[in-house]
């Protein structure tokens, strides 16, 4: 069953194993979980798009961008929104250019048609022009067509697909299953090399089953503490070991709290940068209080957390202190801060 004939040859030799993918993405600063690298690996082998779901700011879009950077292939991005239609996603005829050429043509009309006597000859000649007008020269490619026209491997990112209308979703199916698009006047344009396609969704609305069936499904949730530490360390070089542990623990406990918008990785990174700028080397209550608005985006959340802050900051510091004392034999014992 597992003979090599059924396994398609890949155009992305770098995606040889899930481990290689984790490592490669790590090189460009994207810390992929095992789920992520396994799915990227499978997507390439099965030639299927990946539909990525999860809360905002956990690195859904970033995965596509990082893949492009690591593999050194172009990334085509299509941002979806309500009312997005074929004209903006696939191609558009350049009416202006066509008009301009028609104007020019009008002046030369006599010269072209001069010797053609009867009606048939005239139509025949005009027909040649007609074909020119509806040729790729006058076609303004939009992201989807651009992705299909890439000469080599590429990454196609269809961002926030849940924001688009249902009709558009249906229209995408051709692209997703066959990697081709159809322009009625020209014909079908097929990608030379199937691009890696990633779709992201924030679950604003339920996507159709047809779309889900064609995709592999990847759910990226909030990372666990270990992965989040590695992400912050990769994004904010120069952050101290202690502070890193404390702030990640703090954010993790914040996500457990009953608040409207839980802080995402992006916000953790921002917060880490802020703390670094303020020369903090450990969390204290006053510091957290002053910078809380980087982490929380709702007034009511800030107020709610503010109340329980003293305890949370102390807890985060305590556990970090204990862990440090347990593992950090080389660093020597830390003074007990609490």
């Amino acid at each position: 069953m597992a003979d090599s004939d059924t396994t398609p040859q890949t155009a992305y030799p770098a995606l040889s194993t899930p481990e290689a993918i984790t490592e490669g993405l790590g090189e460009v600063g994207y810390i992929a979980s095992e789920d992520i690298s396994t799915l990227v690996f499978l997507a390439d082998r099965l030639r299927k798009p990946i539909l990525i779901e999860g809360p905002a700011g956990v690195g859904k879009t970033d995965l596509a961008v990082s893949l492009g950077r690591w593999l050194e292939v172009p990334v085509t991005r299509l941002q979806c929104y309500e009312g997005l239609d074929e004209g903006k996603a696939l191609y558009e005829w350049q009416y202006g250019k066509q008009l301009l050429y028609t104007q020019l043509l009008r002046e030369r009309l006599d010269a072209i048609l001069g010797d053609a006597g009867d009606m048939n000859a005239i139509t025949g000649r005009l027909k040649d022009f007609d074909d020119i007008f509806f040729s790729p020269d006058f076609l303004a490619p939009r992201p989807l067509l651009k992705a299909m026209q890439q000469p080599g491997p590429s990454v196609l990112l269809i961002d926030e697909i849940d924001k688009s209308d249902e009709e558009f979703e249906a229209f995408l199916l051709e692209v997703l299953s066959d990697y081709q698009v159809t322009v009625p006047e020209i014909g079908t344009i097929r990608a030379n090399v199937a691009p890696l396609v990633l779709l992201t969704s924030n679950n604003v609305r339920e996507l159709s089953d047809a779309l889900k069936r064609r995709c592999l499904h990847l759910h990226i949730g909030f990372p666990d503490a270990a992965r989040e530490r590695r992400i912050v360390a990769a994004r904010v070089p120069g952050i101290g070991e202690d502070l890193l542990k404390q702030l990640v623990d703090f954010v993790q406990s914040l996500r457990e709290a009953d608040i409207k918008k839980r802080p995402s990785i992006a916000e953790t990174v921002d917060w880490a940068k802020t703390l670094l700028l303020m020369h903090a080397d450990m969390l204290d209550e006053a510091m957290v209080r002053r910078t809380l608005n980087v982490l929380l985006k709702h007034e009511s959340d800030i107020a709610a957390v503010d109340r329980g802050l003293a305890k949370m900051a102390r807890d985060a510091r305590d556990t970090a202190g204990q862990a440090g004392a347990g593992t950090g034999r080389t660093q020597g014992g830390y003074p007990d801060l609490s």
Binding site: L46, I50, L216
Partner: protein, 453 residues
């Protein structure tokens, strides 16, 4: 054990737990397995998940089933590997007795756990234990499996020993009975595990169907927790159905302003036409609940349902009354549902029901909330203790609103009897229906939302 058989069994288990796996996805799963192989269990779990589970809730079901399913496979498979190894060697007894397959007694005497697990697996398949649907069937299937494993020889021997009536025979009979008990226990455990994999999901579905049809007044406390889950499910269903179709193109009417603007660059030649679009109103619900004793239960589910519909009905006003009317929307938003519900019952549901008073309270304090996109939903039995029903106010309210839906827990046959004012209110409502169970509640809300289509 063939991989394909394992995979189809697993997919079957998923389907029975309401994870819809299409044939195309099954093929994808086979291809994925061919790529990543069976060797690394963790890798296999992650890989298949992307192919088979297409939402977060499906993912949870998948994780649970994968562990259950492959835990039992593992034991059986290890067994078959070992046996493959020594089959050529000392499996056949040296004295040349019958080369029959080892039955239950042999297995128990050898005491090889892996071999037993494998035999159980085989017997389970012979007995069709995968068709198990209810946990009460485990006993039956365990019996069938014992039979498939050849329990007769053991029983014959046991009878034999019991008849002999010597001390040695007595001890041996004791031992045989112990073996039978032990094997029966294992068979039961196996059947139970099969039920967890294949049957539990369907039973759950079955229970939910029953519950949705069950009369709300007949629910007991143990049902209510399950009902909350069910209501959330219904709300999600309604939400997906009605969050679509927000905008409808109204072909036939040209939107001149937009067309001119988008074609300005083309010298005003209208290449690119824009059509007027009909915007749907955002639903706005005004829920007015009678919380007097008999109706209180229904209030709970109606409020829970509309409250869970937040994403489709962002504009929700909730009022409860018995004697006087009170705005309870804020309680629902801030206190959490359960606490708000308790507070509603505690603070409002006393005094004799007075619809007229409630309407005039509405008139004084909340009249401005009723506009042309409002759906008024009234839940109550219309029993107003012979007070003035204030039909004039009711008529005015309904004529201001988009539609008025009255949900009544009582059957139509008793409307208008005694102090019931239902029949006098009826002419002013767009719909007046009896709600007895969750299904009818869902249907009513569905109708209400359809008006915004």
């Amino acid at each position: 054990m063939s991989g394909e058989r394992t995979l189809t069994d697993f997919i079957r288990a998923l389907r029975s737990a309401q994870v819809d796996v299409s044939p195309a996805e099954a093929i994808d799963a086979a291809r994925a397995l061919a790529t990543i192989g069976y060797g690394d269990r963790a890798l296999m779990k992650r890989g298949l998940k992307g192919v088979l589970a297409k939402s977060e809730t499906d993912g949870e079901t998948y994780n649970r089933l994968f562990d259950l399913f492959f835990a039992q496979r593992d034991v059986a498979e290890n067994g078959s590997a070992q046996h493959g190894g020594d089959a050529a060697g000392d499996n056949r007894p040296a004295d040349g007795s019958d080369p029959r397959a080892p039955d239950l007694l042999d297995l128990a005497e050898q005491g090889d756990d892996a071999a037993i697990a494998m035999a159980l697996e085989r017997a389970g398949r012979d007995a069709g234990v995968q068709d198990i649907r209810f946990s009460t069937q485990t006993g039956y299937f365990a019996q069938q499996m014992m039979k498939a494993m050849g329990v007769e020889r053991l029983e014959k021997q046991l009878l034999d020993r019991l008849r002999t009536q010597t001390e040695a025979a007595e001890a041996d009979a004791e031992r045989l009975m112990e073996i039978r008990r032990d094997m029966m226990g294992r068979a039961r455990a196996h059947a139970q595990q099969q039920f967890d994999v294949y049957g539990a999901g369907q039973t759950e579905q079955f229970r939910e169907d029953v519950l949705a049809e069950k009369s709300i007044s007949a629910l007991d406390l143990s049902d209510i927790r399950r009902m909350n889950v069910l209501v959330a499910k219904l709300a999600r269903k309604l939400a997906t159905r009605h969050s679509r179709r927000r905008r409808r193109k109204n072909r036939g009417k040209l939107d001149i302003r937009r067309t001119l603007r988008s074609n300005a660059g083309l010298g005003g030649v209208p290449f690119d036409l824009h059509w007027r679009q009909k915007r749907r109103d955002r639903p706005k619900f005004m829920v007015i609940c009678d919380v007097s004793g008999s109706v209180a239960r229904y209030v709970r589910f109606l409020l829970l349902l509309v409250h869970s519909l937040k994403e489709v009905v962002p504009d929700l006003h909730a009022y409860a009354f018995s004697a006087r009317l009170k705005d309870v929307g804020d309680w629902l938003d801030t206190d959490g549902f359960e606490a708000a519900m308790a507070r509603i019952i505690k603070d409002i549901s006393f005094g004799s029901t007075d619809y007229g008073q409630a309407l005039s309270d509405l008139r004084v304090d909340h009249w401005q909330e009723i506009d042309r996109r409002t759906t008024i939903i009234i839940l109550g039995d219309g029993r107003s203790n012979y007070g003035d029903p204030r039909l004039d106010l009711f008529r005015e309210a309904t004529s201001r609103a988009k539609q008025t839906i009255w949900l009544c827990p009582e059957p139509r046959s008793v409307w208008g009897t005694g102090d019931s004012e239902m029949l006098r209110y009826e002419p002013h409502c767009s719909t007046m229906v009896q709600v007895s169970n969750l299904k009818s509640l869902e249907r009513a809300i569905d109708t209400a939302l359809l008006a915004y289509g």
